[in-house]
Symmetry: C2
Subunit: 346 residues, 2 copies
DNA sequence: CTGAAAGCGCTAACAC
DNA sequence: GTGTTAGCGCTTTCAG
C-alpha cells in the first residue's frame, strides 16, 4: 500500500505533545512555549509533515479554493484567461478546481455546480463567454448556491459581478482609426452573432459608420465563426457584395489572417487598396504579411481583476460584514497600429 | 451567513432514518428496502443534497482528483494539452486541481507537491516540458510522494511513466518530405536547445542530412526561442551564413511564419526558391501565405493517453494488486503537407 | 434490512 | 502553556 503521509497524530506522539499543540504550531499561534515550538517544528521537518487541506476545509468551513469553469481551452483566448487566473489565484493562496465545459453552449450546468460545491469551493469564476441562451440560468430563483460567482465576458447586469473587456469600445477604436486613415467604405466580418462579444463589436462598427455619416447597407458585412476558414468565406462574399469596399474591420485576428491571404492571392495591396483591422492581438499577428493592426484585449488583466474581486467578495461574506454590492467592471482594450491599416504614412 | 448546504444528517432526520441509510442510498448499496430508498431519494431531491467530496475523500483515503502541473498556459501547446486532460479526466470522473508554474524552468517544486498532496490528490500529471535541469529531481531518493506521477514531454527513462510525442520521428518525417521534393540544401531553425524537444527535432535534421549523404556544417542552422521574433532573426542569420540554402526545417510554426514573412519581403518565392516545413500545426498555419507544411502533434491524444495511464496506475495501486511496471509511451506525429514545400506538383 | 458507535485529520472551546 | 472533549460530513464496522 501507499507509504502514507504523516498525520498530526504521528507528529504529536513523535514530539511527545498533544495534537492540539501541533495544531497551534502549524497555525503559528502565540500560545506555545519557544522550546515546545521548536521541538515540534523539528519533528515536522523530519517527518515532512504537511497538514491536510481537506480536513482543514471541513472543519473551518472554508477551503481556500476556487472553482473555475472554462470552455474552449484549446483556443488561445480562454487559455490566456485561465493562465491569468491561475497565477493570480496562486499568489493569493487559493487552489484552483478546473472544470471545462464540453461545449460553449452547454446547457446542463447543474452537474458542474454540484461537483464544484461538493468540493466546498469558496467561490466560482464562470469564465465562459456569453452565447445564445447560455446565461438564462443566471437570474433563476433556484440559483442560490451559497457561494459567490463572478462572471467573465458577459453583458453587465445589476446585482451580478461581471468582469469583461469593453468590446464595444474596442470596435469604436478600430473604426476611429480606419476613418482617420481616410477609409470610407468599411466592411465588417463579424463573429457568430449569438456571441455577445460579436454583437458588441458589430454594433460599434454600425454606430461608427452612422456617426461618420456613412450610409449602412446589409451588404457591407458578413458573419464568420472566428475560424480562419470562415473568414476566407466571409471575405469572398464581401468582395462580391461590396465592390467599393476599401477596408474591413474583422472581429478577430484569425479571420483577419485569411483576409490577408485572400488579398494576397488576388493581388490586392494592403493597406493601399484595402485596410484591415483585427481584434485580439494574438502573438502571430505582428508577423502576418503585412503585420496586422488589431485591438488588444488584456486577458491577463481581466483574470487578475476577476480573482481579486472574487476574493474581496469571499472575505467580505466570511467576515460577516455586510455583503459587497456586486458591481460590473469593464476594462478598456488598446489599439495596436501596424502596417495593415497605415495608408497615410505620417 | 451562508445558506448552508444540507448535510447527510439533515437528510436523515428529514427522512426519518439514520445517516447510514442515507449513505447506503447515495452509494447505491443493495441492502435498502425499496420503500426506504425512494423516501430518502425524494428528500435528497427536495433538499438538493449533494454529498461532500471532502468528507468522502477523507474517510475513503481516495479523492478521485488529479493534480495537474502546467507551465506556459498562455501558449497554445500547453493549453491544448490541458484541454485534453480536462475532458478525459472529466469523463473518467476525476476532478482536476490545477497548478501553473510561474516559469518553465521553475526549480522549487516542493511547494507545488506539498499543495497538491495536502489536497490528497490520487495522482499527479507533470505537464511541463523538459528544459535544462528542470527534471533533476525526478530520480532523487527523497521523491517518494506516495502518489504516482505521469510525466509529459520528457526523455523516456526506465521505471518512470512518460507520455510524449516522438519529436525525433517528426523531424525525420519533415526531412524525408523535403528530400523527396528534391531539396538538398536544407537549413534548420531550432528551438532553444535547453529544451528536450528542440534537441530531438534538431538531431533528426542532422541525422537525415547524414543519411542522405549531405555534408553538414554549423552554418546551416540557427537557434530561435519559439517566438516569431526570434524566427525572423534566425532566418536573417541563415540567409547570410548559408546562401545556397534552398529550404528550411523550422522547429515550430510561429518561427516558420516569420520565415514566410521574410521571404515575402525579400521577394523569394516559396516553395520554388525556398521550401519550408514547420512543426506543431497550429490552427493558423493553413492560412499563412502560402499555407505551411508542418508536423502535427496531437496534444489531445497525448493528454488522453496520459490520463488513462494515470488512472490505470491509480486503480492498480489501490486494488492492492502488484504495481504496474511503469512504461513510456511515445506517440507518432503526422505530416501535413501544404503549399510551402510542394515544389514538385504531382 | 437498519441503526449505533468509531473514526478519517484536523481545530474550536473549554479545562487545568 | 498545554491537554481534553467534541465535532466538521461522511463511511465502515458490527449489532440487532
Amino acid at each position: 500500500m501507499r507509504s502514507g503521509r504523516p498525520t498530526i497524530k504521528k507528529v504529536a506522539s513523535a514530539a511527545g505533545v498533544s495534537t492540539q499543540t501541533v495544531s497551534r504550531v502549524i497555525n503559528e499561534r502565540p500560545d506555545v512555549s519557544p522550546e515546545t515550538r521548536s521541538r515540534v517544528q523539528k519533528v515536522i521537518e523530519r517527518l515532512g509533515y504537511q497538514p491536510s487541506a481537506l480536513a482543514r476545509s471541513l472543519i473551518r468551513q472554508r477551503s481556500y479554493s476556487l472553482g473555475i469553469v472554462s470552455a474552449g481551452l484549446k483556443y488561445i483566448g480562454p487559455s490566456r484567461t485561465l493562465s491569468g487566473i491561475a497565477s493570480v489565484a496562486e499568489e493569493a493562496g487559493y487552489s484552483l478546481l478546473l472544470k471545462e465545459l464540453p461545449r460553449f453552449d452547454a446547457n446542463d450546468i447543474t452537474p458542474i455546480f454540484r461537483a464544484l460545491l461538493s468540493h466546498h469551493v469558496d467561490g466560482i469564476i464562470w469564465a465562459v463567454p456569453e452565447i445564445g441562451e447560455n446565461r438564462n440560468w443566471v437570474n433563476e430563483q433556484t440559483l442560490d448556491l451559497g457561494v459567490p460567482i463572478v462572471y467573465l465576458t458577459m453583458e453587465p447586469q445589476a446585482k451580478i459581478p461581471v468582469v469583461s473587456i469593453d468590446n464595444y469600445l474596442g470596435g469604436k477604436m478600430a473604426m476611429a482609426h480606419l476613418l482617420e486613415q481616410g477609409y470610407r467604405h468599411i466592411g465588417h466580418i463579424s463573429g457568430p452573432l449569438d456571441w455577445w462579444e460579436s454583437r458588441q463589436r458589430m454594433a460599434a462598427w454600425k454606430d461608427a459608420l452612422k456617426e461618420a455619416g456613412i450610409e449602412f447597407h446589409d451588404n457591407y458585412w458578413a458573419e464568420g465563426n472566428w475560424s480562419s476558414t470562415s473568414g476566407a468565406q466571409a471575405v469572398a462574399k464581401l468582395f462580391e457584395q461590396y465592390p467599393e469596399m476599401d477596408s474591413i474591420f474583422v472581429a478577430n485576428d484569425q479571420m483577419a489572417l485569411s483576409v490577408l491571404q485572400t488579398a494576397y492571392q488576388k493581388g490586392i495591396r494592403i493597406p493601399e487598396e484595402l485596410g484591415i483591422v483585427g481584434f485580439d492581438n494574438i502573438a502571430e499577428s505582428a508577423y502576418f504579411c503585412p503585420p496586422l493592426t488589431t485591438v488588444q484585449q488584456d486577458q491577463y488583466e481581466v483574470a487578475k481583476v476577476a480573482v481579486e474581486e472574487m476574493i474581496k467578495i469571499i472575505e467580505a461574506g466570511w467576515q460577516g460584514g455586510e455583503l459587497i454590492e456586486p458591481k460590473s467592471i469593464i476594462l478598456p482594450p488598446t489599439l495596436v497600429v501596424r502596417q495593415s491599416s497605415m495608408r497615410s504614412k505620417v
